[in-house]
Point group: C2
Chain length 147, copies 2
DNA sequence: CTAAGTGCAAAATGTTTGCATACTT
DNA sequence: AAGTATGCAAACATTTTGCACTTAG
């Protein structure tokens, strides 16, 4: 795995602490800034963005885009978490923003299919399945049983 | 289906012409502007965005968000085209950026699975599968035949 | 000591909005 | 005539970038 980062800095540490401390939670760049500031260790937004980019490149963190005009979300998926990776999918509710982690062999199978039939090597860590979660479907008029 | 649009205007027409004329192709708001201008019928960008929004709301056009800092893409899926929608997936190569449209029943099946087994209503239109395309895999040292 | 990382503020990008004018029905 | 759509330009929000300074190795 590529390691773009060369130096270990306080900023990087607290960033990682912020993200790794809340696994399975979506955090925005602004959230990270707030966290750091609250911890008495403010980090410039450029640094936050740059480090976030690094962490994503290193595969420690995932980036999610829900909508064009809302900030990107980041989630720690770090080191060890990588193991069950091939069968771990992320579902994000477009309505309430809920993040659902799905471990499912059936989903893992589509990975094989994509590879075998379409020559496409899916990166499950980077991929997010968007849609409506169970709760939001219930309260969505346009979504009775199915569409 | 809701129809937000009340009036039929030249702007709306040429917009629709632009999109419907290139089915299966991703078009940005800027592309639309360029098209209209080239046709000798320039349309203001506000109008483009507003009409695009309408068309999406009407279900004639789909909106895709590939990445935060690249413009949203629009694709005509008009009237009848909506049918194939559930089996149309978008794959994005992380290396070369290629966008691949995949029509595949096997993929459509995961949609059912997600719904039945996980209560999650996948929105294939919003979802982008990230990974490596065939060509890039070939030139990627870390990706031989693998699985 | 050198290269990498930081932070500020300014720039860039894509999208939205206010408002007067033009157009559709 | 009444209400909707348009277009400009300014506003917005998020992310990126230039550059001088600090820090890690």
């Amino acid at each position: 795995m590529n390691t773009r980062t060369k130096y270990k800095t306080k900023q990087r540490d607290i960033l990682l602490e912020c993200l790794a401390g809340t696994p399975g939670v979506h955090t925005t760049a602004a959230d990270v800034c707030a966290y750091c500031r609250a911890k008495g260790m403010p980090v410039g937004q450029s640094t936050v963005y740059r480090q976030l980019e690094n962490l994503v490149a290193e595969g420690l963190v995932n980036k999610y885009i829900i909508d064009v005009n809302s900030p990107a979300c980041f989630e720690y998926v770090g080191a060890g978490a990588r193991e069950g990776a091939d069968s771990c999918f992320h579902c994000k509710c477009e309505r309430c923003g809920a993040l659902i982690h799905l471990h499912c062999d059936e989903l893992a199978a589509i990975r094989s299919h994509l590879f075998d039939a379409h020559g496409f090597r899916l990166d499950p860590m980077r991929t997010v399945l968007y849609g409506l979660c169970e709760d939001c479907r219930a309260s969505d008029p346009a979504d009775g049983a199915e569409g």
